[in-house]
Symmetry: C2
């Protein structure tokens, strides 16, 4: 933990676990006989429990969004640039909750947890999760923490989809929603990329229909390929070109199948690292949650109708070179919100970094997001939230 | 062979084989002790051998570009829409040659051929091919057929790269070059997609370092994934959306890992079909040829300089929704040709079909390409070619 970051860091944090022993019914028709959620909090809940902010994570994210777990951690949480004292989600003012989603592989109940019916890990028997299920589980955690209504719920990518689902499921339970680098539903191309990733994992002979743990192996090849494909879609063509271009790994061409270009080396490294630290069944489940998300589908494909009961204010942020969830996809959402006569601010941030931009420092993004959050704090102080 | 197409079809065609027994030196430093090329011809070579047109194929293409091999063929050759009587490459006027590239898996010498040094198939020992090597081998075929100078050389995608290399290697040997849906070099993102495809094949346990034939197996899983990834890049996001949208395979969601959306079904089908009809070593080799192509690299990255000795006229065609080789990439080439003071016509064809558009019927494309070819025929008749 570098000393220099301390003043703007939430510092050392310790994950907590909440256990729920009630039967939890899922959109897929199955149910979980209780579950655990691992989460972190930053800042302090005020006396009226009105300053809570929920942070929702993306495909490969988790509850560790800010600060450090250990003094010798080299990297802080995944959204540390945006959470901390003086940062857009200012922990001097807000009580921030960041939770590992159900079905995850970072401590919350998921495929690696024990299935009480069998006494062994759930593996592929773990039910398919949807964004609606996550929102319901997050609401149970809010109940547990005494939070009736969030000052704001925020998140990027798949996290942004959870933010969008919240005011549809629980209109009364949040005052503000910040939906960043997201989309109201996946396109055919988005689903296609997910499907190739899934096929890569599922066709790995060491996947064993999801029972790899029982076979003492890991479907590393498949997970590596899935991550490599994902990485291409997270970066813009421009940023990949600027970072790697056609630079060679060595001084001259080797005319073989070893790494020739730097971009190949980068992708292999990213894929290898991911293949041992992430659970394949969780990865599959997360991609399915992405595919299924489509709040308009229950409203005759009319997104404005799906949003008609919402009561919160919205901030929508997209990034100019994001081609995974392009600015057009955010505009679909903004247009539906306008049609539904809901209060919405929208900004398309100029950034060369593609979809990944939502995780990276950027003056315009920080300014827009920061202003949105400062207004919430001002409303909170004036009792108008 | 449908009767209705006969008047505009080249009809039944029979592939031919040319055998070359000279040592063939390759860019990678290795050499082939002779080789065979399989090719087809359409139309008739005139007395002065001045009406020959060479067609170059793309990644998964072959020599069968037009007409039918059998009366009961359901589909004609891959570029039948553009080759035939009255079509842009009018076989009433031109003698068309279409050749399966060296290293291919459709009859020309490649990884499945016998390595005379070992008496068994080359497999992964088959040397890496480059676009320059292909052009040299095609020139040997032209010599064999008595063609000193082509009226035109034409091709799309990787085929277009061969067309671009031709006037650089052999300025005197062609009068016209039509470079369609191509790029003067791959971007980092292009290389990244190729690398994921290669890793998919190479990490398939049935790949056996390329010796799958000797093991009596095929790396079908890897080849399927490679093709699925390829297909996503061949279609535009729009055309994929228009074709499949979020349509479900069955009436309702099944919340599992079977096919849920139509686009998944399509990709799996395409991948499966390809995995048994294409050779994995050839696929790897073709993607490497794409990666390595960069004619400017030997000229201080100055493409205009690389083109300075060319003597032909150029037609460059791009497609509005092609994101594999976007219109910007064609414009790089056009700008370099303009800078080098070379005669070039350029058109960006409005099409919703992405990269695949170069294979599909399109009025504007047919008109532009047809006009270019008619002018060549007119020059031929007037003796000004």
């Amino acid at each position: 933990m570098p000393d220099t970051t301390l003043s703007s860091s939430v510092g050392l944090v310790t994950p907590q676990t909440a256990t729920f022993e009630t039967d939890f019914h899922l959109a897929c028709g199955k149910h979980l006989p209780g579950f655990e959620l691992v989460y972190e909090t930053y800042g302090k809940l005020n006396d009226t429990a009105s300053n809570a902010v929920l942070v929702c994570h993306a495909l490969s994210g988790h509850h560790h969004a800010a600060g450090y777990h250990h003094l010798d951690d080299r990297k802080p949480g995944w959204w540390d640039s945006y959470i901390g004292p003086g940062k857009p989600i200012d922990t001097r003012h807000f009580f921030v909750i960041s939770v590992n989603n159900l079905g995850g592989c970072h401590g919350s109940t998921g495929p690696q947890s024990i299935n009480p019916d069998t006494g062994t890990s759930w593996g592929p028997d773990f039910p398919i999760m949807t964004v609606e299920d996550w929102v319901k589980s997050q609401a149970l955690l809010a109940d547990r923490l005494g939070i009736t209504r969030f000052a704001a719920i925020v998140g990027g990518s798949l996290g942004g989809m959870q933010v969008l689902q919240w005011p549809i499921t629980y209109p009364e339970r949040l005052a503000n929603a910040a939906i960043i680098a997201a989309t109201p539903k996946l396109s055919a191309q988005n689903i296609a990329f997910n499907e190739v990733a899934r096929q890569a994992i599922r066709s790995d002979p060491e996947f064993h229909d999801g029972w790899y743990e029982q076979h003492g192996v890991l479907p590393k090849r498949g997970l590596k390929l899935a991550r490599m494909i994902g990485h291409i879609t997270y970066l813009s063509e421009h940023s990949m070109g600027a970072k790697f271009g056609r630079d060679l790994r060595t001084d001259s061409l080797n005319y073989g199948y070893d790494v020739e270009f730097q971009v190949e080396s980068y992708l292999r490294y990213q894929g290898d690292a991911f293949s041992t630290r992430f659970d394949a069944n969780t990865y599959l489940l997360m991609t399915k949650a992405l595919d299924y998300f489509d709040p308009a589908s229950g409203h005759n494909n009319d997104l404005a109708k799906a949003l008609s009961n919402t009561l919160c204010r919205f901030l929508v942020v997209s990034f100019s070179t994001d081609w995974r969830f392009a600015p057009e996809r955010s505009r679909e959402l903004v247009n539906a919100l306008v049609k539904a006569k809901k209060p919405v601010s929208y900004t398309n941030v100029d950034s060369p970094y593609g979809h990944d931009a939502f995780l990276l420092p950027n003056d315009h993004y920080e300014a827009a997001f920061g202003a949105f959050m400062r207004r919430i704090y001002s409303d909170l102080n004036q009792g108008t939230l």
